[in-house]
């Protein structure tokens, strides 16, 4: 089986999308010669030229607006935000314009853009380069939010996101770029709005996103040794959310733990818990649903503080064990 890194998988998705459709263009800072801050666009300038791999000045509002404008004019732009944090400078163009336009104009326009956001902590990059902002976008009707956790999903979801006729926020994680996995050569699509059940289990439903999926799977392995059988589900698309597998899982397990890196308050975990509690799974709950998330603090730079701010493997094991043993 062919293996690629998450970075290479994204790169291949971009190449295949651009080969197939001349309307797909890339816009962002240092995506040409430099190959993108994380190397995702390496080689694309040589292959597609400056007309389709467009380096910009440091102008995030401009980049975002250019994507929206190009999208309503028939192109399919893929914006590169270099670091997820910088989308805050493009918020107005993205949220108040790009996301709202189709509804305001009663369906007259389509806004088929993808905005790639390399996010997350764990690199010691401190409070302005480590954020996980996915739930800011989940809160915006008109946007779709995708968050791949593996190389396979990175490619399949990016191709599907580029095909989609709506603005899609594509949340990548910096620590995932070097992770490897099976990635087929053909241009396959993983549909948006479909959760992935990574592992079946009877005792507890663990919903995890992005970086936390790998940690959740490791935790499930360890807990299996203790006789705790954990089901791991990765929504992959946070908006629209495919909640059915989660609800069905909780009906079987009676216990729910949601893990994400973004801060807990106002985070995606609250949405998952709310949906489960409001569903037919409510009657099957054997314990209060739990969230394990980033601490409510801007991400600090130093290793010890950063590790204390972000859920770690041992935290997942601890909370899952507590929940499975009814110690909450």
């Amino acid at each position: 089986m062919r293996e690629l890194s998450y970075r290479e998988a994204l790169n291949e998705a971009l190449v295949q999308a651009m080969d197939a459709d001349p309307d797909v263009i890339l816009i962002g800072e240092d995506i040409g010669t430099y190959g993108g801050a994380f190397g995702v666009t390496r080689g694309l300038l040589d292959r597609f030229g400056t007309g389709r791999v467009i380096d910009t000045p440091i102008s995030e509002a401009g980049i975002t607006g250019a994507c929206v404008g190009a999208a309503i004019s028939g192109l399919r732009p893929v914006g590169d935000m270099q670091f997820s944090d910088f989308i805050t400078l493009g918020m107005e163009q993205l949220v108040l314009q790009g996301a709202r336009m189709r509804t305001m104009f009663a369906g007259q326009v389509k806004v088929p853009l993808v905005m790639r956001l390399p996010g997350g902590a764990g690199t010691g990059a401190a409070a302005q380069h480590s954020g996980s902002y996915e739930n800011w976008f989940v809160h915006v009707p008109g946007l779709k939010v995708v968050m791949p956790a593996s190389a396979y999903d990175a490619k399949g979801l990016l191709l599907a996101a580029i095909d989609d006729d709506n603005p899609v926020i594509f949340c990548e994680h910096k620590l995932l770029y070097n992770t490897r996995g099976h990635v087929p050569e053909e241009a396959y699509r993983e549909p948006l709005g479909v959760s992935r059940v990574w592992r079946r289990g009877r005792d507890l439903t663990l919903v995890a996103t992005s970086m936390m999926v790998a940690l959740a799977l490791e935790a499930a392995d360890q807990l299996a040794g203790e006789g705790i059988d954990v089901e791991v589900i990765d929504p992959r698309t946070l908006r629209p959310l495919d909640e059915t597998p989660i609800v069905e899982s909780v009906i079987r397990t009676g216990r729910l733990l949601v893990v994400h890196e973004a801060v807990e308050t106002g985070g995606f975990g609250g949405e998952v818990v709310a949906r489960v509690v409001a569903s037919e799974a409510f009657d099957y709950l054997d314990a209060p649903p739990l969230r394990l998330a980033g601490k409510d603090v801007p991400v600090p730079q130093s290793e010890v503080l950063e590790a204390a701010a972000i859920p770690q493997f041992r935290d997942i094991v601890r909370d899952a064990r507590k929940l499975a043993r009814n110690e909450v």
Binding site: E29, D30, G32, T33, Y34, A37, D55, T56, P57, I58, S59, E60, A61, G62, D85, F86, L89, T123, G124, A125, A126, A127, Q128, H129, K295, D296, V297, P298, P300, Q301, S302, E303, V304, L305, A307, A308, A309
Partner: protein
């Protein structure tokens, strides 16, 4: 070695304001920054730093020239490439090194790190991870200085790349209509990451933008300490008298890669080497001028270089011995 000494030192404001001892202190600061940054580079290569790093090597004359032209009570904002600013202002390599190594005892106790040093009491209002992030902030500080009728100015440093953020337009326009005491210093080091200035800006000089806002703009040799000092000093004097903002574009060059991940495919080694020659290197130029003027001699210069490297040794040893931050304090500063 080519003698790049400036004959015009006696006419410089820098000599009048700083005096020979002050000029020596400025040179010592530049030497410290160079030695510090070279050591930080080695520490990174040895795997002893975490996260990214943006080094100031090559930009010492702008770092020190701009900040030594201020006085106590003034404020300034730095940016992501800010080790040089922190050292020029605080002369405290121990604390800077502790921040870089993620230790406690530095400026920001493991929260900020390389890009977010700050020493607010002294007027150093912080580095910034967001390109152009300091520009609107400096306008706000200038407004406060004006409203509180303080005898002070605010200076903000930013890169050529930052000149293309929308924030610059709003910040400079507001400072102009309110005639705020703010000095905007663009460290034009020829590149924003991989993007050369001429591919991101369609006018000759960044300083020409000042005209559009209605205040003075100057493009100067940012590797000439004396020129930077004099220009910023004049701008600050005008601002103190209610003369409003100034935009200074200091032409300089980033000798090292943009950050630790930069493969530098966008420029040639030859180009970099050219900027390290005695007629361009900011340290060699100020050294030559002070030697020529008899303010230092070769022996003293060697001693100064040695002292800079000793202080860096000391800073590394001190920072490495400092404890890691205590994770129990993680939430201590989220709210006042």
């Amino acid at each position: 070695m080519q003698n790049a000494a400036r004959e015009s030192l006696p006419q410089c404001q820098a000599l009048k304001v700083l005096g020979p001892a002050g000029l020596k202190a400025s040179l010592a600061s530049m030497l410290l920054i160079r030695a510090f940054e070279e050591r930080v580079d080695q520490l990174y290569l040895a795997g002893r730093t975490r996260g990214t790093l943006h080094l100031s090597i090559g930009q010492e004359a702008t770092n020190v020239g701009a900040l030594h032209a201020l006085r106590a009570g003034d404020r300034f904002f730095s940016h992501h490439r800010g080790h040089g600013h922190a050292l020029a202002w605080t002369d405290d390599p121990r604390r800077a090194m502790a921040d870089i190594l993620g230790k406690s005892g530095g400026f920001c106790e493991g929260f900020g790190g390389t890009m977010h040093m700050a020493d607010v009491k002294s007027g150093f209002l912080g580095g910034n991870g967001i390109v152009a992030g300091g520009l609107p902030l400096s306008t706000g500080v200038g407004l406060a200085i004006q409203l509180r009728a303080e005898d002070a100015v605010c200076l903000v440093l930013f890169g050529d790349g930052a000149a293309n953020e929308g924030a610059l337009h709003e910040a400079l326009n507001m400072a102009s209509i309110w005639q705020l005491p703010v000095i905007y210093i663009c460290e034009n080091n020829s590149y924003a990451m991989s993007t050369p200035v001429n591919r991101s800006i369609n006018v000759e000089t960044i300083s020409s933008r000042a005209t559009a806002y209605g205040f003075p703009g100057f493009t100067i040799d940012g590797n000439d300490f004396l020129e930077v000092f004099d220009c910023v000093h004049a701008a600050a004097s005008r601002a103190r008298k209610g003369g409003g903002p100034t935009l200074v574009e200091a032409l300089t060059y980033r000798i090292k890669g943009h950050s630790r991940s930069d493969r530098q495919a966008y420029r040639s080694r030859e180009e970099v080497r050219r900027w390290q020659e005695p007629d361009r290197d900011p340290l060699l130029r100020l050294e030559a001028t002070l030697l020529h003027a008899g303010i230092v001699d070769e022996e003293e210069l060697s001693a100064m270089r040695l002292r800079a490297s000793d202080r860096v040794d000391d800073a590394v040893a001190w920072a490495e011995a400092a404890p890691a931050p205590d994770p129990s304090g993680l939430l201590d500063h989220v709210y006042a």
